[in-house]
């Protein structure tokens, strides 16, 4: 009953809203490099340019991570649109990332 409604709203968001994200990495640590690669692939495929990504290297700005409450790396924060989401890991689980970013809605 409610599924078509949700889908309609989701596709609307997909088309117009810009997703703003911040990725925290730790230099060239393997997980961090993987995270960048994975996120870029996801963005290419699902967001088609409708995103804004800031990459913060904790090794360079450790105290910024502290104020942002980020500790484990890599870590991806969805800043807008709401609701905000926090994802940790190298983003290899694409399905979970899409769900967390609100690009994809849970199906069954």
């Amino acid at each position: 009953m409610s599924r078509p409604k949700n889908k309609a709203r989701a596709s609307a968001a997909e088309s117009t809203t810009i997703v703003s994200m911040r990725l925290y990495i730790a230099g060239s640590a393997p997980n961090s490099r993987q995270a960048i690669a994975n996120l870029e692939a996801i963005c290419r495929e699902h967001l088609k340019g409708l995103y804004k990504l800031e990459i913060v290297d904790i090794l360079e700005q450790p105290l910024r991570a502290l104020t942002d409450g980020v500790l484990v790396t890599p870590s991806l924060n969805k800043v807008s649109p709401g609701p905000i989401a926090k994802i940790v890991g190298n983003l290899s689980d694409e399905g979970k990332v899409l769900l967390a970013l609100g690009i994809k809605k849970p199906t069954a």
């Binding site: 450790p62 484990v72 870590s75 994802i87 890991g89 190298n90 983003l91 769900l99």
Partner: protein, 597 residues
């Protein structure tokens, strides 16, 4: 034991090549003794234990002590609970944590919110970078990873866990930090595999445990590993007080108590005399006895005497309030209330149930350090045996006595005897072996009477009376009375009194008889003297009379011869007439005698 010998050989090997292992004191009462100096500096210590075993308290207290007493900064990374909750639980102790958190201790909230979505592998590189920056900023010496297991389980991969642990270890070595890592372990060594691995990786492993013994929760601590150092093997009791966690270490094996030769009063003169002059200062005295044998009264006299000398005193009672004790003692002339009022005497009473013996020890130590008494009483120590297991209570009793001696307090401990045999009782807590003086109070029942008897079972390093004395309580306090022995049996109470009055009656009789005799003798002496006097007077009178008579006679003779010659002259008679004179003279002489009489 195996652990110790192995570690010892390692330390010996190290000694031959390198400096002794540098350590940082934790400042946790007892732990620094058990660990022979604290935790290894710039190394990692793992604190494992079940929930509620005190891991977080141990770690946080170490940071607090470092910050408060040695100006060492520390970082506390809280994986398990929010830092606000860590502060809240830390505030239950008298650490002044809130002030320290601002300047010397940095708390990092490292809790991963449950809303965080895990999408793929992650690592701690970022966190360690943050911490390295913070360490530089703060100049930290200590770091605590509290509940590291919580974060590691999110990795869901043993290999990844191992990798991160190695990462942390290397990072710690690089940053010259002394680290404490706490992790949950459910039972024994068979925790999650990673923790077993962690134990190999770290330099020191401290195991905390909470378990129930006889309905009382007890906490235990054990060092299971200490690379490059000796440590006290075995399990040590842990308790929590105002100052935080405390490890009940038996202290150094070597006993170093000063042996004073100063004597102080045990309460009253007669008892001091029995003890060869009183108790040695700093010694411990055990008073055993059945209920009602006046153990508390003896202890009370000791305390009152101390207060009167102007010394500070502490009266600890178990299972009886201090007010009833003061009232009861005042009925036998021991007034404690004025000393309480003046602040010289502190009375503390506690319940023994549901509190572990350890906790009593902590409380008593706190009291001693606060009040600084020179004399104290624990009445009765046997109550401690009810708190938890006997084994634990025994260890506590021992440590209590040693602790009191360490503080140079002269102590009198009472212990209840259940049976008539004092030896049977004293074995319950086995205090009698540590006590310097042992006074036993007992009942002697004879002829329908119960009387109190006092004996000194032992008194180290001094002469003491081996005699049984009767302890008599009166409104002026306790006193000791000689006992009578009759037919090999000791007489007390009424029997003693009877014998005493019998003795005094016969003595009075003897005295009276003697007086009588003396008076008789004196009388007869006086009589004789008087008679001698009278006879002397009589003699003098007779002598006087005789002399007078002689004079008369002479005079008469003179006059008669004179008269004869005059008669002769007058009658002109011839001189023959003088022959008839004796007949005439005789009656005259007779009359003269009669008149003189």
């Amino acid at each position: 034991m195996i652990g110790v010998t192995r570690e010892r050989t390692v330390s010996e090997m190290k000694k031959s090549t390198t400096q002794p292992l540098p350590k940082l004191a934790t400042g946790i009462e007892g732990f620094d003794a058990v660990s022979h100096g604290g935790l290894p500096r710039h190394c990692t210590t793992l604190v494992v234990g079940g929930p509620g075993a005190g891991k977080t308290v141990f770690a946080l207290q170490t940071l607090v002590n470092g910050a408060r007493h040695r100006n060492q900064r520390g970082i506390f990374v809280a994986f398990e609970e929010a830092s606000a909750r860590v502060i809240a639980s830390g505030n239950t102790f008298d650490w002044g944590l809130a002030a320290l958190v601002k300047r010397k201790i940095f708390l990092l909230d490292a809790q991963l919110s449950p809303t965080v979505i895990k999408a793929g592998d992650f690592d701690l590189v970022g966190m360690l970078a943050v911490l390295a920056a913070k360490k530089q900023e703060l100049g930290a010496e200590w770091i605590v990873f509290d509940g590291l297991d919580v974060l590691l389980t999110l990795l869901r991969d043993p290999l990844a866990e191992m990798r991160e642990i190695y990462r942390i270890r290397d990072w710690l070595a690089e940053n010259a930090l002394t680290a404490l890592v706490t992790a949950k372990a459910d039972n024994g060594y068979a925790g999650a595999p990673s923790y077993g691995f962690m134990q190999f990786m770290v330099d020191c492993v401290v195991r905390l445990e909470q378990r129930m013994e006889d309905g009382v929760a007890v906490h235990r601590l054990r060092i299971t590993k200490y690379r490059g150092s000796d440590f006290a093997s075995g399990e040590f009791p842990v308790s929590f007080g105002q100052a935080g966690l405390e490890v009940g270490a038996a202290g150094s094996v070597e006993i170093q108590h000063e042996a004073s030769t100063e004597r102080i009063s045990a309460g009253f003169d007669r008892l001091d005399a029995m003890l060869g002059g009183g108790l040695f200062r700093g010694s411990s005295t055990l008073i055993t006895g059945q209920p009602g044998t006046a153990k508390t009264t003896l202890a009370g006299t000791f305390i009152a005497a101390a207060c009167q000398r102007g010394e500070r005193a502490l009266f600890v009672s178990f299972d009886e309030g201090s007010k009833p004790i003061a009232r009861n003692l005042s009925s036998v002339g021991i007034k404690l209330a004025p000393h309480v009022k003046s602040g010289m005497l502190r009375m503390y009473s506690a319940r023994t149930e549901a509190v572990s013996a350890e906790d009593h020890l902590i409380k008593l130590r706190a009291l001693i350090r606060e009040h600084r008494p020179s004399c104290m009483v624990i009445d009765p120590l046997s109550a401690i045996a009810r708190a938890g297991t006997l084994g634990a209570a025994r260890a506590v009793a021992n440590r209590l006595v040693y602790m009191i001696k360490d503080e140079r307090v002269t102590v009198m401990i009472t212990a209840l005897t259940e049976g008539a045999d004092p030896e049977a009782e004293s074995t319950a807590l086995q205090i009698s072996t540590i006590a310097d003086t042992w006074i036993n109070l007992s009942y002697v029942v004879r002829s329908g009477e119960r009387n109190r008897a006092l004996t000194i079972v032992k008194s180290r390093g001094t002469w003491h009376s081996n005699q049984v004395r009767e302890l008599v309580l009166s409104a002026s306090g306790p006193s000791l009375t000689d006992v009578y022995t009759a037919g090999g049996e000791v007489l007390m109470g009424t029997l003693r009194w009877e014998r005493e009055s019998e003795d005094s009656a016969s003595k009075a009789r003897r005295d009276a008889e003697f007086d009588q005799k003396r008076r008789e003798l004196e009388f007869s002496e006086a009589d004789t003297v008087a008679r001698i006097k009278a006879m002397q007077l009589d003699l003098q009178r007779q002598q006087g009379a005789l002399a007078a008579y002689a004079r008369d006679e002479e005079a008469r003779l003179l006059s008669s011869s004179d008269r004869e010659s005059r008669l002769r002259e007058r009658r002109s008679a011839d001189p023959r007439m003088s022959q008839s004179r004796p007949d005439v003279r005789a009656p005259t002489k007779k009359n003269g005698e009669g008149a003189s009489k």
